[in-house]
Symmetry: C2
Subunit: 254 residues, 2 copies
């Protein structure tokens, strides 16, 4: 019997974002692994074991799932959003590279999903309508000066920025520092979107400016989009404003 | 009767990527608008009109759909991948901003989808496992020197790059020029992924290096991922290699 490991993206948090491919991979699994709150989104099925673990245990979780798959089981690791964007797919690849030879013969399927920045952007218009960067503000695995250099490079070259992992109890100052840093490059009026828990009952999306943006309005479930110089806000009658970045770039941005 | 416009992402090209939310939006529409090949992916339903248009007619298509929605109909515009990533959502926002006041009272729903870079990344491992940029190589709406500056900034700061719209009959040299440009910043051994038509019967995904990458291997349906200095290739026994970017950034990248 040959094992199989699927790394499955659940999308931003509601069943209406789960693709048929993800649904099929979850249904076929004998064992499910994942961070508890993500696992809680998956309907309980008979004859399927569930193994919840903590947020910061990606490597241990990946290794445990690989071990069970290598023993012949059909295993799925669940991820919020897309597993390839600041999530489990990279941790699984790391473990395969570092692990025993038997892990390299395993069939591994990564099942993509709607990542948070796409869901937040969709809620508010089309802020990612031109070139953009996705950047994690977590300095757990990356020196802070690398993050600063990437903020400088991206904002300076006119990319829109999607900021993942903006803040946590253990990382309280990073988002404020990033906003401060971006103010060196972008006008005070640059639109900023805070998208919290999109697709979940407690969803909250708000639009502000770079001058007014306040790190205290974000938590672990927030994804932040910082516009470029080209990003616009369209006020509407009786509808929420639209934030979008036009397709055309008229001139060299500063 | 008040109209409604949905801008719906179909994902990379197979029904297994269409989210339940997208499916529901398509089923509820009285009129469908879109680029012909995308519209062809949507099952024909009775009492639903279909309006195919050409690739380059985004603004005209958006305006036509808005006009019909403003007259009271339930309208859907279909997009490949995600509508907010180099697709129709931005064109719709532009038309709303430029159009009559009545378009600003319309209910507009953007329905996100799995964009090409996520699908290509999933097929090959986790190349987008660290900070990354999405950049369109089309200079139809953007001066080429802006594209060059963005390539320089992103590669120089250690972002992985996802290149959309790499090549077309009208834009034959841009991808070659971009690869040449990236060679100034990145080692010859940097992994490069060509992902063509992922999720469709003629899917083809290949891995090469920046030194060997050949623009002639891409066409309009290709999405290219250029790794950072940190991106790795794991050879496997009896399985395709895995390309991934580790979560940890050990030091300041050049």
């Amino acid at each position: 019997m040959s094992g199989h490991l699927a790394v499955v993206g659940l999308g931003p948090g509601d069943a209406r974002y789960v693709t048929p491919e993800a649904e099929a991979a979850l249904a076929a699994a004998q064992a499910l692994y994942g961070y508890g709150p993500y696992l809680d989104r998956v309907p309980v099925r008979p004859r399927q074991s569930r193994h919840a673990s903590d947020n910061r245990e990606e490597a241990t979780r990946a290794a445990a799932a690989l071990r069970v798959a290598a023993a012949g089981a059909r295993v799925a690791i669940v991820s919020g959003g897309d597993p390839g964007v600041f999530a489990m797919a990279s941790a699984v690849c790391e473990e395969i590279e570092a692990g025993p030879d038997s892990w390299r013969t395993l069939e591994v399927a990564i099942v993509p999903g709607v990542t948070a920045m796409l869901a937040v952007a969709a809620r508010i218009g089309a802020p990612l309508g031109q070139d953009f960067c996705a950047l994690s503000l977590s300095d757990n695995l990356k020196p802070w000066d690398v993050i600063e250099r990437r903020l400088d490079a991206a904002a300076g070259a006119g990319f829109v920025l999607a900021l993942y992992n903006p803040i946590s109890r253990a990382r309280p100052w990073q988002l404020g520092a990033a906003i401060e840093r971006l103010r060196r490059h972008l006008p005070a009026t640059t639109p900023v979107v805070f998208g919290r828990a999109v697709g979940r009952p407690d969803e909250h999306v708000s639009v502000t400016t770079l001058a007014e943006a306040d790190a205290a309005d974000a938590d672990m479930a927030t994804l932040i989009i910082v516009g470029s110089r080209a990003t616009r806000v369209v006020q509407r009658n009786g509808q929420a404003p639209l934030v979008y970045t036009p397709r055309a770039v008229a001139e060299v941005s500063a």
